[in-house]
C-alpha cells in the first residue's frame, strides 16, 4: 500500500500544484462542454423541430463520434498548432455528438398530439419549440450533457499531448514522474467525473419543469 501513502503525501505536500491542475482541468472541461452545448442544442432543436435534414445531422454526429481524440489532436497540431485551441477542438468533437443526438431525439419525439394541441392553441413555431418541445426534451438533453461531461473530464488529460499546461494531464501524460503521483491524479480524475455527474443530477432536477418531474418519476418507477 506504499503507493497510496506516497500519493497521499504528494497531494498533502503540493496543494498548490494539485489544486491548480484540478482547477485548470475543470475550466477546460467546462469550456469544452459549454461550446458543445452552444453548437449542439440549437442545431439539434432546429432539426428536431423541423423534422428535416435529420439524416444529415445524425450521420454528421456519428462521424464526429468516431474520430479518435488523439488523432484529432495530432492533425490539429498541423492546423492550429499546440495549445488551448487544439485540445478545445478535440474535446468539443468528443462532447458534441452526444448532445446533438439527444437533443434531436428529444425534440423530434415529443408526442405529436401535444404539438398539435399547442398549434391548435395558436402558438407559433418558435413558441412551440420554446414552451412545448424543449421543456419536454430537457430530460434527454440533460442526459446527453451529463454523459458528455463525464467523457470530457475523463479525456481532458490529453491536454498534455497538446502542450496545454495545468490540467490533470500534466502528470498523467508524463511517464517520467513516479507512479504515486499518477495514482493520485487518477483517483482525482475519477472523483471529478463522479462529482460532475452528481452536480448534473441536481441541475437536472432544477431545470426540469415541475409538471414533468412527476411524469418522469412515474415513468422511472
Amino acid at each position: 500500500m506504499n503507493i497510496v501513502i506516497d500519493a497521499y503525501d504528494f497531494v498533502r505536500s503540493n496543494p498548490d500544484q494539485v489544486l491548480g491542475d484540478i482547477w485548470g482541468h475543470v475550466v477546460l472541461s467546462a469550456a469544452a462542454v459549454a461550446v458543445a452545448i452552444a453548437i449542439a442544442v440549437p442545431v439539434g432543436a432546429a432539426v428536431g423541430h423541423l423534422h428535416r435534414w435529420s439524416f444529415l445531422a445524425i450521420s454528421g454526429a456519428n462521424v464526429l463520434r468516431a474520430l479518435p481524440t488523439l488523432a484529432v489532436i495530432s492533425i490539429g497540431i498541423t492546423v492550429w498548432g499546440l495549445g488551448f485551441v487544439n485540445i478545445m477542438v478535440a474535446l468539443v468533437i468528443l462532447a458534441l455528438p452526444l448532445i446533438l443526438t439527444n437533443t434531436y431525439v428529444g425534440v423530434a419525439e415529443v408526442d405529436p398530439g401535444t404539438v398539435e394541441a399547442a398549434r391548435g392553441m395558436g402558438m407559433t413555431g418558435w413558441q412551440i419549440l420554446r414552451r412545448v418541445e424543449l421543456p419536454n426534451a430537457i430530460f434527454l438533453i440533460m442526459a446527453g450533457v451529463r454523459t458528455a461531461t463525464v467523457f470530457v473530464i475523463a479525456t481532458a488529460y490529453l491536454a498534455g499531448f497538446a502542450a496545454y499546461p495545468d490540467t490533470l494531464g500534466a502528470v498523467i501524460t508524463n511517464p517520467t514522474l513516479p507512479l504515486s503521483q499518477l495514482f493520485a491524479y487518477t483517483v482525482i480524475a475519477v472523483a471529478l467525473a463522479f462529482l460532475a455527474d452528481g452536480v448534473f443530477a441536481i441541475v437536472q432536477r432544477l431545470v426540469t419543469p415541475r409538471g414533468l418531474r412527476l411524469t418522469h418519476t412515474l415513468a422511472a418507477a
Binding site: A66, P68, L70, S74, T78, Y157, T176, L179, A189
Partner: protein, 243 residues
Amino acid sequence: MSPMLAVRVSDGPIIPDFDEPDCRANERFCWGWVVDNWPDLQARLVEHVYITAIAVSIGLVIAVSAALLAYRYNRFETPFVTVSTVLYTIPVLAFLLVMVQITGIGLLTVEIALTGYTLLLLFRNTLTGLRSVPPEVHAAAAGMGMTSRQILFRINIPLALPALMAGIRVASVTIISLATLAAFVSPLGLGRPILFAIGTQFVTGLITAGALAIVLALVADGLLVLATRAVTPWARAGQGGIR
C-alpha cells in the same frame, strides 16, 4: 525500438532523418516519407485492428453473459453497472500505466485495460435490448408452448440484436480511439507513430498517422452499420434505416 517513449514535446522538434531532401524542412506534407514508411505504418494499422477486435470480442463475451445473468436475476445489475462505470471513468492512459506494474509491458496489459472500457456500453445495450421485448410477445410465445430457453434464444436474443449491434458499434469506435494510447505501454498500434510525431512535431507524421486512425474508425463504423443491417433485416422496413 524507436525512442518514442523518451521523446517529449518539451524537448523541441527532432526531424526524423530520411532520404528526401525536399522534406527535411518539416514545413509541408511529404508524400515521399509516407511511401518510404508505408510497410511500417501498415503493420501498425493491422495491429490496431486486432487490438480493437480482441478487446471488443472479450468484452462482448463478458458483457453479454453478465447481461443475461442480470436479465434473469435483477440483483446482478447494480454491482456490474457500478464496477463498469468506475472502469469507464478512469483515464485510459493512467489505467494502462498502472496495469504495467502488474502485467508488464505488452499486449495483455493493453487488452485488460481496453476490455474494461467496453463493458459498460455493451452491458447496458444488451440488457436494454433484452428487456425491450413486450410482455404480450412473451405471453404469445409461452402460449405457443415454447420453453423459457426457447423464448430466450428465439425471441429475446433476436429482438435484442439491434441494441446489441448499436453497442458494438459505439464500443468499437471508442476502443479504436482509446487504443491509440496503447503505444505508451507496448510497441503496438497507430498510437506509436502518432505519439512519435507529437513528440517530434513532425508534420507529415502527424497528418499521416492521425488520418490513418480516423479512416480506420470511420471504416469500422461504416462496416458495423452494414453488419447491423445484415443481421436485422426486419428492422429496415419499419425504421427507414435511421439509427
